[in-house]
């Protein structure tokens, strides 16, 4: 076996190499989005210098597409869906774990089916249902679908967190005569704050990055989300490398920024949810 020092060095070398592989392509795209066209092709691996720096791609993106609208749409859909998933999911998880009644086990099982079975397969019927309700091509339609998509996993995760809350708290509140609804909203709910990070990881990312439902359920430009908007822009301007790289970078940077800021919470959320 290698000497301990050499072994540590080898481990770091492997990890660094993989990180380069993981981050490299992203860096490449972002770097080149700030370069003039000939510099992109001439020296793709070089970072932008004073001579090659150019924002022409970004200008084009802002001019030719409504990227601001797309971004706003994504924000609305994601945040509202997340909030409602948390609210409905917490209430349901609480009811299922606290009030055992006949059929509550069956109900819990019913709700957990959605974890494994992908909701997309029902798109045919979802589309016709939304059309019939006049919710086709609206953000509301998207939100409803995403709530349904996110609930099973959220309920599962929240149930695990609720199981950790000591019984004594609820018993004490009951002895004090606090009504059930207030027990949930004022005693239990605040204690679920750590769960928000975990639920967020499993809910926000799939919604923000989803292409399928915006593609199927929205038709007009004003309801497009950013993922769909970028995808269509890319399809349209595929030969305009500056714009393409700029659009990609604009889609990358917000996510990366949020991720870097919240990475610790996100990752601990993921590991907390997985450690059962």
């Amino acid at each position: 076996m290698l000497a301990p020092r050499a072994r540590v060095a080898a481990v770091h070398a492997i990890l660094i190499a993989y990180c380069a592989l993981a981050v490299g392509p992203i860096l490449l795209v972002v770097m080149n989005s700030f370069k003039a066209r000939n510099a992109i092709f001439g020296a793709p691996l070089a970072p932008p210098s004073a001579a090659t720096f150019s924002l022409i791609g970004y200008e084009k993106v802002f001019r030719a597409s409504h990227i601001g609208v797309y971004f706003a749409n994504s924000l609305i859909v994601t945040l509202v869906s997340m909030a409602l998933v948390l609210l409905f999911g917490a209430m349901a998880a609480w009811a299922l774990s606290e009030y055992k009644f006949r059929g509550s086990t069956a109900l819990a099982l019913y709700l957990s089916i959605g974890i494994m079975v992908p909701i997309r397969l029902g798109s045919v019927a979802i589309l016709s249902m939304l059309r019939a309700a006049g919710l086709n091509d609206t953000l509301t339609g998207l939100i409803l679908v995403y709530i349904a998509q996110g609930l099973p996993m959220a309920i599962f995760i929240l149930s695990e967190f609720i199981a950790q809350i000591p019984r004594d708290l609820r018993d004490a509140a009951r002895c004090d005569g606090v009504p059930e609804t207030r027990i949930f909203f004022e005693v239990i709910a605040p204690l679920l704050r750590p769960a928000i990070a975990t639920v967020a990881v499993f809910t926000i990312v799939p919604i923000w990055n989803d292409l399928w439902f915006p593609l199927i359920l929205t038709s007009s430009d004003s309801t497009h989300t950013i993922t769909l908007g970028v995808q269509q822009f890319l399809g349209q301007y595929i030969t305009d490398w500056n714009s393409v790289l700029a659009a990609l970078s604009m889609a990358i940077l917000p996510v990366v920024a949020i991720y870097v800021v919240f990475s610790r919470q996100l990752i601990s959320g993921l590991t907390a949810g997985a450690v059962k």
Binding site: G235, A251, I252, V255
Partner: protein, 316 residues
């Protein structure tokens, strides 16, 4: 789970209890049933219909399925998509999971510095939209830009370069590898969490017993995280057979070149919505979705069966 009703619950008047449950469970169950379960059932129902001459639907029983499996017009692309999906899945199982396990193993070594940084960086691609990933790699691998070919030339493997995304023989595997690149963070994190769960004293005991780090990983750590690897596998299975976004954003609905990258997701999309080559056929699309559902269901049932029988989560 058959606990007796708590005293509080049992002493509540029935009407109030029902109202309470409606408040807590109602919204979740309603939205979920309406937008998740019902559409699935409706789709399966729709699959038993077909377009009739007058533009409406008539009941045809299992005729759509018969066409799907028997009629060459449908069965050829269907089988093509199915086989491709299996290949897609196999690449993930053979590449994504071992890399994820290896990275998790490295990151869980005691006393490793910069752990958090590595974790953050390796997980970064998973946060990105598939559209971004697909397009970025499309550009990088493109012979026009020359980044990939240049990189290979730099290490002396220049002659290995080919426009992999454009060749029917390599397009699917390349796309699968791009997907692996993006999603390896998830098995890595799940297995990493499971490895952390193993008590330090167990590893100490193994060190005292004379095992080196590699042997500890193979004989102690790996067997103890097998349940998590099983979970990762089934999640990969469900995810792969549901996959669509990457292929669509790189190759479009036609999943070229020449349907070489067509998987069940794109096949379903194309069948249902149509494209420049064919009209949309909702009932056939529903049939495809139904078949996909049963394939995924079969996989999940198999997984649950295996988990029930063999794999136990070890309590420490």
């Amino acid at each position: 789970m058959a606990e007796p009703l708590s005293q509080v619950v049992a002493s509540m008047p029935r009407g109030r209890f029902v109202a309470l449950m409606a408040l807590f469970l109602g919204p979740a169950v309603a939205v979920y049933s309406l937008f998740s379960i019902w559409p699935l059932i409706a789709t399966m129902g729709l699959a038993t219909y077909a377009n009739d001459a007058g533009g409406g639907y008539r009941f045809v029983g299992l005729a759509n399925f018969v066409s799907l499996f028997g009629d060459a017009v449908w069965s050829k692309p269907f089988v093509n998509a199915l086989v491709n999906n299996l290949i897609f899945f196999c690449v993930h199982m053979l590449v994504q999971n071992p890399i994820g396990i290896a990275l998790a193993g490295l990151l869980s070594l005691p006393g490793l510095k910069l752990k958090g940084l590595y974790r953050t960086l390796i997980f970064l691609p998973t946060m990105l939209s598939v559209v971004i990933v697909g397009f970025s790699w499309n550009l990088i691998l493109s012979p026009l830009w020359g980044v990939a070919s240049g990189a290979l030339k730099a290490v002396g493997l220049g002659q290995w370069f080919a426009p992999w995304l454009g060749l029917p023989s390599t397009a699917l595997v390349t796309l699968a590898l791009i997907s692996v690149w993006q999603f390896v963070g998830i098995p890595m994190m799940l297995i990493y969490a499971a490895l952390l769960n193993i008590p330090d004293e167990l590893i100490d005991a193994a060190r005292v017993d004379g095992l080196g780090h590699l042997r500890i990983f193979l004989h102690i750590k790996l067997p103890l995280v097998l349940p998590t690897i099983g979970l990762v596998s089934i999640l990969t299975f469900v995810g792969n057979f549901n996959a669509f976004d990457l292929i669509y954003s790189v190759k479009g609905a036609l999943a070229g070149p020449n349907f070489a990258s067509d998987i069940l997701g794109t096949f379903f999309y194309r069948t249902f919505f149509g494209n420049q080559l064919q009209l949309g056929n909702p009932t056939m699309g529903a049939a495809v979705a139904t078949v996909m559902f049963f394939i995924i269901l079969a996989g999940v049932c198999l997984y649950l069966f295996i988990v029930q029988r063999r794999m136990r989560r070890y309590a420490f």
